[in-house]
């Protein structure tokens, strides 16, 4: 049992993450200090939450490319409301952000479920639509930090037990996912739908509806992250989180969430996001030429995927051998 756990994808990834931190520490002393690692975790919080949302979608054999646009639009809307009506409490703004995110996720989900359009096409479309709506609502103008209320900017930065609220929100989301995915009927349904859709139908699971819920949950998280992102960087503009959707998918892939669906864990997604976040935070300090940075993060992704592909392959063979031995 313990041997199996050590061989698992998550254990390998955790080992790689620790190795990465040690390598960075050897080049830049102080990187592995607890305070700095907490900073890295805080910086990666948004990526972790979106990767968890994306994990559900990928588990059901779908993909959501509109998450970053969803985030940017909700962020812009909350910032505009805040600057126009500073009296609206931030809690209400967060509720609006989540509601708006859920709505956009539901729109994706409905198109996938009821019209049966391939998810990559749907979300490629909504990626542009949501991004386009930002231009419409904002007229291309920025919302700047001096136009935002102090409370709006303060919440993610507020420290509880010397950890910012942003980190605590991420921890809460991870905990909710750990319980929800492993212990609820819907959580297990995500695996069933992605693992074998036909079999899932025979067990009474509505495949389309399950996918719909995956999109809705991912959308709601993107909405929440929209507020957190804009408030953290204290600026809302049309290009917020441009290209971030690919980081989210990369985090999932590194974390061993199988693009073919049905395979992957919450721990994997979190570790994948942390791995990518650590690289992003390490590159500026290790003194590697910026011209190489993109290539290096790309290489890290491919290596991680290659590892996953190998471990998946081996596992398949072992199962067959066991089956042979039993018969």
């Amino acid at each position: 049992m313990i041997g199996q756990a050590l061989k698992s994808r998550e254990a390998i990834l955790a080992g790689a993450l620790i190795l990465l931190i040690i390598v960075v520490e050897s080049r830049f002393s102080g990187f592995a200090a607890p305070g700095n690692l907490a900073g890295v975790f805080n910086d990666t919080s948004i990526l972790i939450m979106l990767a968890l949302g994306q994990t559900l979608v990928i588990l059901t054999r779908c993909i959501d490319l509109s998450l970053a646009s969803n985030l940017a639009l909700t962020g812009m809307v909350t910032a505009m409301i805040n600057s126009a009506m500073p009296g609206v409490p931030v809690v209400a703004l967060i509720a609006i952000a989540v509601a708006l995110g859920l709505l956009m996720g539901a729109f994706n989900g409905i198109l996938v479920w009821k019209l049966d359009i391939p998810p990559i096409v749907v979300t490629l479309g909504t990626l542009t639509i949501y991004r386009g709506i930002i231009f419409v609502v904002s007229g291309g103008a920025w919302v700047n930090s001096h136009e935002m209320s102090e409370a709006y900017k303060a919440i993610p930065r507020f420290e509880i037990l010397s950890l910012p609220v942003l980190s605590w929100i991420a921890i809460a989301v991870i905990a909710a996912f750990a319980v929800g995915v492993n212990r609820t009927a819907l959580g297990r349904a995500f695996y069933a739908v992605g693992g074998n859709p036909s079999a899932a139908v025979y067990t009474g699971i509505n495949v389309g509806k399950t996918r719909f819920w995956a999109f809705v949950i991912a959308g709601g998280l993107a909405g929440l992250c929209g507020y957190l992102w804009v408030s953290r960087y204290a600026v809302a503009y049309t290009d917020v989180a441009g290209g971030f959707e690919l980081d989210v998918v990369a985090a999932c892939v590194i974390g061993g969430i199988s693009i073919a669906g049905g395979l992957g864990t919450v721990t994997g997604a979190v570790l994948g996001a942390l791995f990518l976040g650590t690289i992003k935070n390490a590159l500026p300090v290790v003194g590697i030429s910026p011209f190489w940075q993109l290539a290096i993060s790309g290489a890290a992704i491919i290596i991680a995927v290659a590892f996953n592909a190998r471990s998946e392959h081996g596992k398949g063979r072992i199962i067959l051998k066991k089956a042979e031995a039993h018969s």
Binding site: F28, G30, N36, G39, D43, W142, N144, S145, H146, R157, W229, Y233, A234, V235, Y237, D239, V240, A241, G242, G243, F244, K280, N281, L283, P284, V285, G287, P290, F291
Partner: protein, 335 residues
């Protein structure tokens, strides 16, 4: 603001009415009518430029500014505006073009009718105008950004550059120009150049990296409006306000928060009021034949000095204008 705009429109309407009512009376002939064509109406930057042009008109006495432009930033809209200005027989057209080539035929028609045509801010292809006034030159921008950092560091110190993408042409030119004048500041050391790709999160992270790698860093120069805002926020979040000064190129509306918090002591960008003023001055001097637009010519821009034309009849106005806590409130609502 809205009063100024209404005033400008009213002036324009009044001028049009006067011209149509009186035909070519003595009054219309006395006044040099300069049309200032914006990329679009309702943009604070151009409203401010129009105010500068009005100031120039008052100074010379017998000039009149017609501030106009399309409602959206399209070349088609500007062509319509140019045609109507030709019909009104203005003396000069000064345009900030939405497209350097599309407006050329309409402007050539204007020049054939004896109208002085110049471009400013955003240029027109050389065949479509007599001269172009650029807000600043690469050289002046390079000199300004290092001076901004050096002025706050009388005893010298370490500075780093936060740029946009590593392939951005204007960024790289400005940084090169900056490096070429670094020997004037022997105590200032440039320790690193990093790239934030004009993304708020990457710029923020790169700034965090700079602060960690160089704990004794004194200033960050970001010649990009996304980068400078993100760097100021990162410095603020790291509690390094007062230790690390963020400077570079940014817009007053976007930088007001950073100046207020002290993360940025000063930054620069071209001043639209001065740009409008200089443009009106040049248009006036060319329209009244006090100067001729040809390579090497030196044309007066009133209080802004003289414009020297290069081989393509292009001139740079001045070094970028510096904003700090003393004037940010005045400009943050303008652009």
């Amino acid at each position: 603001m809205s009063f100024t705009r209404r005033f400008a429109i009213a002036t324009g309407v009044a001028a049009g009415m006067a011209a149509s009512l009186m035909g070519s009376t003595a009054l219309a002939q006395d006044n040099v009518r300069i049309a200032l064509v914006a990329k679009s109406l309702g943009n604070g930057f151009f409203e401010a430029a129009a105010r500068g042009a009005e100031e120039a008109a008052e100074e010379v006495g017998n000039a009149e500014i017609i501030y106009t432009g399309p409602t959206s930033t399209t070349a088609e809209g500007q062509i319509e505006v140019i045609n109507s200005l030709i019909a009104q027989r203005v003396d000069a057209i000064a345009i900030s073009a939405n497209d350097p080539d599309a407006v050329v035929p309409a402007l050539q028609k204007a020049m054939q009718r004896g109208i002085t045509v110049i471009s400013w801010d955003s240029g027109v292809a050389p065949e479509g105008r007599e001269m172009h006034l650029a807000p600043s030159s690469d050289e002046l921008i390079g000199q300004t950004i290092i001076k901004l950092a050096a002025d706050q560091l009388p005893d010298g110190g370490k500075v780093a550059v936060l740029s946009a993408t590593s392939t951005s042409t204007n960024q790289n030119t400005w940084i090169e120009e900056m490096k070429s004048v670094m020997d004037q500041y022997p105590d200032i050391e440039l320790v690193a150049t990093v790239y934030g790709d004009d993304l708020a999160d990457k710029s923020y992270r790169e700034t965090q990296g700079l602060l960690q790698t160089y704990p004794d860093l004194d200033a960050i120069i970001a010649p990009t409006s996304v980068g400078i805002v993100a760097a100021a926020q990162a410095v603020q979040d790291a509690g390094k306000v007062g230790e690390v000064n963020v400077t570079g190129l940014g817009l007053p509306s976007e930088m007001a928060g950073a100046v207020e918090s002290g993360a940025s002591k000063s930054f620069a960008i071209w001043n639209p009021v001065d740009l409008g003023y200089s443009t009106a001055m040049l248009a006036y001097n060319l329209a009244t034949d006090q100067a001729e637009a040809e390579p090497g010519a030196e044309i007066s821009m009133g209080r802004m000095g003289t414009a020297t034309l290069d081989d393509t009849n292009t001139a740079a106005m001045s070094e970028p204008f510096t904003y700090d806590s003393s004037n940010i409130d005045e400009f943050k609502d303008i652009f």
